[in-house]
Amino acid sequence: MPWDPGTDVVQVTRGPKQAGGAGGFYRAFGETLRGLKTTFGQLTEGVTTVQYPEQKIPVYPRFRGRHRLHKFEETGLEKCVGCSLCAAACPSDCIRVVAAENTPENRVSAGERYAAVYEINLSRCIFCGYCEVACPFDAITMGHDFEMSDYNRSDLIFTKEMLLAEPPERTPLRAEGE
């Protein structure tokens, strides 16, 4: 007794019948020509490549690039008070802060304490900007520099002096609304 498929049968809708013969050949030829026209259109459209090391796409003002530490402009004192909140906020644990007391002879920051060591390991940093958000004194901000590749991993650990220094202006900034 043959097997009764019953309700197992699924009705399959086939695609359009394959065009063979002369009609299919004609259609395939036409479609090939259409494709050639499309690619030729791209040829006439020109090049959209940005020649990177020579040309740079300007970054937006809120672009999160390499960190910068700041000083007060009037007094020249560092804004960082060594509270380590940035290190606590950092998800990739790349900031190391060792705080020290300010003394009347050696006054570095505006607060009671200052950061004796402030290091950011940029090979670990994910540029999330949480340190900037966590900082109560706006001492650390994200800059615009993104060209930080180096030959050596240890060269990617940025010290306080490097972060305080004015970064070389190698990244064009995009104007608001541009």
């Binding site: 494709g35 050639l36 791209q42 020109g46 090049v47 490549t49």
Partner: protein
């Protein structure tokens, strides 16, 4: 009594022949980097980018850099490979490609310094057969290379190469039969002379289209590059080859493109003849042929930028069910027309 397989037309001293052979081999060697660079630059433009532009002015030295890089690499072969076959296979490929190049005529017999010199490597009475013979030897380069690598992917690639090249060679040969019937000669210079009234691309347009499609398959160019389909086969028959051996395969592949372009130029585009019956001194023909070849090379690149790779069964079905019957029909119609109008 000596039997000749083919008649070879000579009009030069023996030392001119040697110089001539060297010259045309060198021309071929110079054309390969040119085609390589053209491909990468033009393909880039098709994809809205510049292509290589760092080495030399406008990237003109990129092929040189490529070749230096490949030649300075370590000579490596897998433990499972078959020693001398693995070495000889790429050499076979490039030799066959150069052998076929000798046939492309760049001009008629011209007078250079009082000596009559034919602007071709060799002019034989069996022109297209000679090219196909060398094409068949080139298959051995591919197949032996893939098989002697001792790698499954290489083997798959070479099996595909065997099936694909043999299938499409039939259609390619049949497409040229129409031209041979019309020209009533198999000498390539004779075929060019026969096109003085009208280039064969007009009366043999069907043959031309079949020949071009089959040639794409013969030279393993997209959309028929199943032999080296990198998404499926890693790299095809040349997977295990590196350094100088890979450079030879690479050279042979582009040399084949040049040979096929030259053959199409000779067979269908009137070789060294200028359009509209313009006559020019003999040496102009050389540049005319190169220019016409470059048109075909650009066409190869254009198609590569446009069409996706075929499925394997589609490839076989297309070769045997469409191209071969069409080519046969073309031969029949051409023969009937030639006999009827004779």
């Amino acid at each position: 009594m000596t039997r000749t397989l083919a008649e070879v037309g000579f009009s030069e001293e023996w030392w001119i022949q040697i110089l001539k052979a060297l010259f045309f081999a060198l021309v071929g060697l110079q054309l390969v980097p040119l085609v390589l660079l053209t491909e990468r630059k033009v393909l880039g433009r098709f994809q809205n980018r510049y292509g290589p532009n760092r080495v030399g002015p406008f990237g003109a030295l990129t092929p040189v850099a490529d070749i230096i890089k490949l030649l300075s690499k370590e000579q490596f072969r897998p433990r499972t490979s078959v020693g001398w076959l693995f070495v000889i296979a790429p050499i076979l490929s490039i030799t066959a490609a150069f052998g076929a190049l000798a046939l492309i005529p760049y001009g008629d017999i011209v007078d250079i310094g009082g000596y009559p010199v034919g602007l071709y490597g060799i002019d034989v009475s069996i022109g297209p057969l000679y090219v196909f013979a060398f094409g068949a030897i080139a298959f051995y380069g591919l197949m032996l290379g893939g098989w002697s690598s001792g790698s499954k992917y290489s083997f798959l690639g070479s099996m595909r190469a065997a099936a694909q090249l043999i299938s499409y060679e039939v259609a390619q040969g049949m497409a040229l039969v129409g031209v041979v019937i019309t020209a009533q000669t198999m000498s390539l210079t004779g075929i060019v002379h026969a096109q003085e009234g009208m280039w064969y691309i007009v009366p043999q347009i069907v043959g031309f289209l079949i020949f071009m499609v089959a040639s794409f398959a013969e030279t393993n160019r997209p959309p028929f590059d199943l032999v080296e389909a990198d998404a499926e086969l890693v790299g095809g028959y040349n997977t295990e080859f590196g350094g100088g051996k890979f450079a030879l395969y690479y050279f042979a592949e582009y040399m084949n493109v040049i040979v096929i372009s030259g053959l199409a130029t000779t067979m269908f585009l009137g070789g060294w003849l200028l359009p509209f019956g313009i006559t020019a001194p003999g040496w102009v023909g050389f540049f005319v042929v190169i220019a016409k070849m470059m048109i075909f090379v650009i066409l190869f690149i254009w198609i590569r930028a446009t069409l996706p790779r075929l499925r394997y069964d589609q490839l076989m079905a297309f070769g045997w069910k469409v191209l071969l019957p069409l080519a046969t029909l073309n031969v029949l119609v051409t023969a009937i027309v030639v006999v009827a109008t004779d």
